[in-house]
C-alpha cells in the first residue's frame, strides 16, 4: 500500500524498466492529445447545444440534434478510420500516425508534453509537425465525445429559457444579449461543467482505440499492450492512473462549478444558500 502512494509500481516484466518511468513517458503524450481534443469538444459542444436550445423546435434545432446524436452514436474506431482514410489516404493533408515526422529533431523533454517542449525551445518545425500529427486524432476524439455536452446544454437552456427569472431579467430592462449571456448561457454552462468531468473520463479511455489506430505512443496504447499480453503488474498501475485522472477531473469540475454558480460555496460557510 505504501508503494502505491509513493509511486513505486515495480518493474515491467516485459521490458524490465520501472513502470513509473514508463508511465511518465507515456502520460504526457496522452495528456497532450486528451487536453487538446477536450478543448475542441467543449467549445463545439456548447456552441451546438446553445444553438439548438435557442432555436428550439425549428429546422436548425432538428439538424443540430441529429448531428450530436449521430456523433455520439459513432463508434470510436469508425471516426478514427474515416479520419485516416479521408484525410491521410485519399486526401493526404495530414499524416496518418505517430507524434512527429522522423525528419525533425525532437525537443528536449522538459514537461514531457511535445508541443510545449517545442515551444520552450522555440523549435518551430517540431511544433508545426507535432500540431499536424495531433489534429486528426484529436478531432476524431472530439467528434465522438461532444454529443453529451450539446445535449446537456440544450436541455438546460430549454429548462431555463421560459423560467421566471429570465422573464424578470427581461422585465428589468436588460438587453437581449445580456439576458442570453448572463442568465441563459450561464445556467447552461453550469450543467456543462459538471458533465465535462464525465466526458473527460470518456476521452481519456477513448484513447485506447485512437492511440492504437494512430500509433500514438500514449497511455492508451500502453494499456492496450498490457491487456493484450496479460501483463497485470502493468495493468493495475495504469487503471490507477486513469482513475486518478477521472478523480482530478471531477475535482476541477467541482471547483469550476462553485466559481460559476454563486449558490454553491467552498466550505459551506461563505454565504452559501442551498
Amino acid at each position: 500500500m505504501r508503494d502505491l502512494f509513493t509511486g513505486n509500481f515495480g518493474i515491467d516484466p516485459l521490458t524490465g524498466q520501472s513502470i513509473l518511468s514508463e508511465i511518465r513517458f507515456y502520460l504526457p503524450n496522452t495528456l497532450e492529445l486528451v487536453l487538446f481534443s477536450f478543448v475542441i469538444l467543449v467549445i463545439v459542444g456548447i456552441v451546438l447545444g446553445y444553438f439548438a436550445g435557442m432555436h428550439f423546435s425549428t429546422f436548425g434545432d432538428s439538424i443540430a440534434r441529429v448531428i450530436y446524436l449521430v456523433s455520439w452514436s459513432t463508434p470510436m474506431y469508425l471516426a478514427a478510420i474515416v479520419a485516416i482514410l479521408a484525410f491521410a489516404t485519399y486526401i493526404p493533408v495530414f499524416p496518418s500516425g505517430g507524434m512527429y515526422s522522423l525528419s525533425i529533431s525532437p525537443p528536449q523533454p522538459v514537461t514531457g508534453i511535445f508541443l510545449i517542449d517545442a515551444l520552450i525551445e522555440l523549435n518551430m518545425p517540431a511544433f508545426l509537425s507535432g500540431l499536424q500529427h495531433l489534429i486528426l486524432p484529436a478531432l476524431a476524439l472530439a467528434f465522438v465525445n461532444f454529443g453529451l455536452i450539446s445535449r446537456a446544454v440544450r436541455s438546460s437552456i430549454l429548462n431555463v429559457r421560459w423560467s421566471t427569472h429570465v422573464k424578470t431579467a427581461r422585465a428589468k430592462g436588460l438587453t437581449e444579449s445580456e439576458v442570453r449571456r448572463k442568465h441563459i448561457l450561464r445556467n447552461a454552462l453550469i450543467d456543462a461543467t459538471s458533465l465535462s468531468a464525465v466526458i473527460f473520463g470518456w476521452v481519456l479511455t477513448s484513447t485506447l482505440v485512437v492511440e492504437e489506430l494512430f500509433a500514438w505512443p500514449g497511455l492508451g496504447q500502453f494499456a492496450y499492450q498490457a491487456i493484450f499480453s496479460n501483463d497485470y503488474p502493468v495493468l493495475i498501475p495504469i487503471v490507477v492512473v486513469f482513475t486518478l485522472g477521472v478523480i482530478v477531473a471531477n475535482f476541477v469540475a467541482d471547483v469550476a462549478y462553485s466559481l460559476l454558480d454563486p449558490r454553491i460555496g467552498i466550505g459551506g460557510h461563505n454565504g452559501a444558500v442551498t
Binding site: 428550439f56 423546435s57 432538428s62 440534434r65 441529429v66 446524436l69 449521430v70 455520439w72 452514436s73 459513432t74 463508434p75 470510436m76 474506431y77 469508425l78 478510420i81 474515416v82 485516416i84 482514410l85 489516404t89 445535449r151 436541455s155 430549454l158 429548462n159 421560459w162 422573464k167 427581461r170 422585465a171 437581449e176 473520463g201 481519456l204 479511455t205 485506447l208 482505440v209 492504437e212 489506430l213 494499456a223 492496450y224 491487456i227 493484450f228 496479460n230 495493468l235 495504469i238 487503471v239 486513469f242 482513475t243 485522472g245 477521472v246 478523480i247
Partner: protein, 306 residues
C-alpha cells in the same frame, strides 16, 4: 392503460424517435430471424471459408464485399446482429434489475443500508468503465458470457443512483404517506406505489444505454479482448482488418457503419422517449412546439418591445 397510450403517442409524434423505432424494430427482426433460421436467410454462409473469393470489393453479388477469408461481409454483418443486440440488451437488463433492487433498498430503507449501498456504488463509479471492463474481461478469459459478466460488473452503478433518486422523490409524495397511514403492506407500497413511478425513467435511460453498451461491446471486440476471435461480431470484424485498412477499406467500413446505425437507432428512440417523458418539455412536443412557441414568443416580444 391511458398512460401507455399517451406515451406511445409521444414517441410517435416525434420524428426522431419514430425513425429510431423503425431502425430498432428492423434490426431486432433481422437478428431474431437469423437466430431462428441461421445461415438460411443470409445470401452466403457467414462462416464457411472460400479462399478463391477473398478480398473482393463490394458488388451486386457481394453487397459489402468479402473479407480476407472469402466470407461475405454482408452475411457476417447479419450473423453479428444477434450478438451485437443480444449482448447489450442482456447487459442493460441485468444492470437495471440490479439497479432497481439495490436502488429501492437504498432509497426506501435508508439509514445504514443506504450508506453501505451508495458508498459501494460510488466506489464502482469512480473507475473508468471501458478500462475496467477490459481488465475484468481479460481476467475472465474470452467468451461471450464472460464478456457479458465483465460488463454487468461495471455497468450497474448509474442505475442504482437513478433508481435511488427516483425513490427518494416518490417517497416524499403525499400518496405514499397516505398509503402508509392506510396500513398498506410493504409489498403494496413497493410494487404499486413506488415501482410504477420510477420505471419510466429507468426505461428511457435503459433505451439510450443499450446504444452505449453496444458501442462498448463492439470496442471490446475491436480490441480483440473478451470476445473470441472469428466470432461474427461487428467490432471484431473491424478490428481484424486494421492492417489491410488501406487496401480493403470496405471490410472495416461496412461493419463500422452498421454499428453506428444500430446505435443511432437506440439513441434516437431513447432521446425521443426521454424528451417525451420530460414534464417540462412535454407540452411543446404534444403541440409539436408550435402553439407553445407562439404563446411564449408573444410574451417575449411584448416584454422586449416595452
Amino acid at each position: 392503460m391511458a398512460q401507455s397510450l399517451k406515451f406511445r403517442q409521444l414517441v410517435l409524434s416525434n420524428r426522431l424517435s419514430s425513425l429510431g423505432l423503425v431502425i430498432v424494430i428492423v434490426s431486432v427482426c433481422l437478428a431474431s430471424a437469423f437466430a431462428i433460421f441461421g445461415g438460411r436467410i443470409t445470401p452466403y454462409s457467414p462462416y464457411a471459408l472460400n479462399l478463391q473469393d477473398s478480398n473482393l470489393p463490394p458488388s451486386f453479388a457481394h453487397l459489402f464485399g468479402t473479407d480476407f477469408q472469402g466470407r461475405d461481409v454482408f452475411s457476417r454483418v447479419i450473423a453479428a446482429l444477434p450478438i451485437d443486440l443480444g449482448l447489450p440488451i442482456a447487459i442493460v437488463l441485468f444492470s437495471s434489475v440490479m439497479g432497481i433492487f439495490l436502488g429501492m433498498a437504498a432509497g426506501y430503507l435508508g439509514g445504514v443500508v443506504d450508506e453501505i449501498i451508495m458508498r459501494i456504488t460510488d466506489l464502482f463509479l469512480a473507475f473508468p468503465t471501458i478500462i475496467m471492463v477490459l481488465a475484468v474481461a481479460a481476467t475472465l478469459g474470452a467468451g461471450l458470457v464472460n464478456a457479458m459478466l465483465a460488463f454487468v460488473f461495471v455497468w450497474w452503478p448509474p442505475y442504482v443512483r437513478l433508481v435511488r433518486g427516483g425513490v427518494l422523490e416518490v417517497v416524499a409524495e403525499d400518496y405514499i404517506a397516505i398509503s402508509k397511514a392506510l396500513n398498506s403492506s410493504f409489498s403494496h407500497i413497493i410494487f404499486k406505489g413506488i415501482l410504477p413511478n420510477i420505471l419510466p425513467s429507468v426505461m428511457t435511460y435503459a433505451t439510450l444505454d443499450i446504444g452505449t453498451a453496444l458501442l462498448e461491446v463492439s470496442i471490446l471486440g475491436f480490441l480483440g479482448i473478451g470476445i473470441p476471435p472469428n466470432t461474427p461480431e461487428l467490432g471484431v470484424m473491424v478490428g481484424s482488418i486494421s492492417y489491410g485498412l488501406y487496401t480493403y477499406p470496405w471490410q472495416a467500413l461496412f461493419p463500422a457503419f452498421v454499428t453506428m446505425l444500430l446505435v443511432v437507432g437506440f439513441s434516437f428512440l431513447g432521446e425521443g422517449a426521454r424528451e417525451a417523458s420530460d414534464v417540462k418539455v412535454r407540452p411543446y412536443i404534444l403541440f409539436k412546439g408550435r402553439a407553445f412557441r407562439k404563446a411564449t414568443e408573444i410574451t417575449e416580444q411584448q416584454l422586449t418591445n416595452r
